[in-house]
Symmetry: C2
Subunit: 155 residues, 2 copies
């Protein structure tokens, strides 16, 4: 990665302001098949990108969104969940069992597994709309198809 | 973004497995100036990407790394912090004051502000090495210079 970065630095397009130009924060899954700048058409400096397992709304995501809005001026949120998520292949109890068997310790937090991706997007929208710390709750939810590269909005 | 995605889908390179090809999970800041696939030379499907404000190690990052390792086979962790982070321009008390003044509610969680970026990378490495839920604690920490595009490793 350090070697590949030398190529990037050689063609580096230049500095950008710390405040996202499009005033958007994207919340997405950590999935390796989603290069978000490419698949959303984002340019350098356009949007904050927050990612975790599942792209679910946790306290840490609310912390990040609160900083994004209060300190750095974003006012819209875009959620990107996706097809064939690893969190659809397990459930919270089975995952805690797996970790306990391998490490001897049972995690006190839930994996946040889910079954229906559209329902999980709607649940994320609901959690954002309930948060008291945000300045803006303008949010749109999408699902990315990892086999076609297509993004669709969840109504 | 939906329009830009149609262009992406038209030149979509094809499906990849859910398990990251390079068995790596990247933990980075949400900063808008860091398109991680580009600046680390990652190809589609190579690595999990976990991002939050500061790229700090929280319970949610440990949840994501635990899922990444136990369910999806990653065994190395790369941290990417950066110069001129928004979290270096505040402190936890000032940020809680700001949110309380704007929303009437004081957040119960800390912003996780920091002053020295190298120290913050070392603190992240320490927190990963202390986590009992991971299968591998092989971790390397880096700082990205947002003005030059260059990544350097923190010793």
């Amino acid at each position: 990665m350090l070697e590949a970065n030398a190529d990037w630095a050689a063609r580096f397009p230049g500095s950008k302001p710390v405040r996202p130009a499009r005033e958007v924060a994207v919340v997405a899954c950590m999935d390796a098949r989603m290069p978000l700048f490419g698949l959303l058409g984002l340019a350098l400096g356009d949007a904050h990108v927050i990612r975790n397992a599942g792209g679910v709304i946790t306290e840490d995501v609310i912390r990040s969104l609160t900083i994004s809005q209060h300190l750095l001026g974003t006012r819209e949120i875009v959620l990107v969940h996706h097809t064939q998520c690893g969190l659809q292949s397990t459930d919270d109890v089975a995952f805690a069992d797996l970790v306990e068997q391998s490490t001897g310790r049972r995690p006190p937090w839930a994996a946040r597994a889910f079954s229906d991706v559209d329902d999980d997007v709607r649940e994320s929208i609901r959690l954002i709309q309930e948060s008291p710390y945000l300045l803006s709750r303008q949010v749109r939810g999408t699902v990315y198809d990892v086999d076609s590269g297509r993004l669709r909005e969840v109504e």
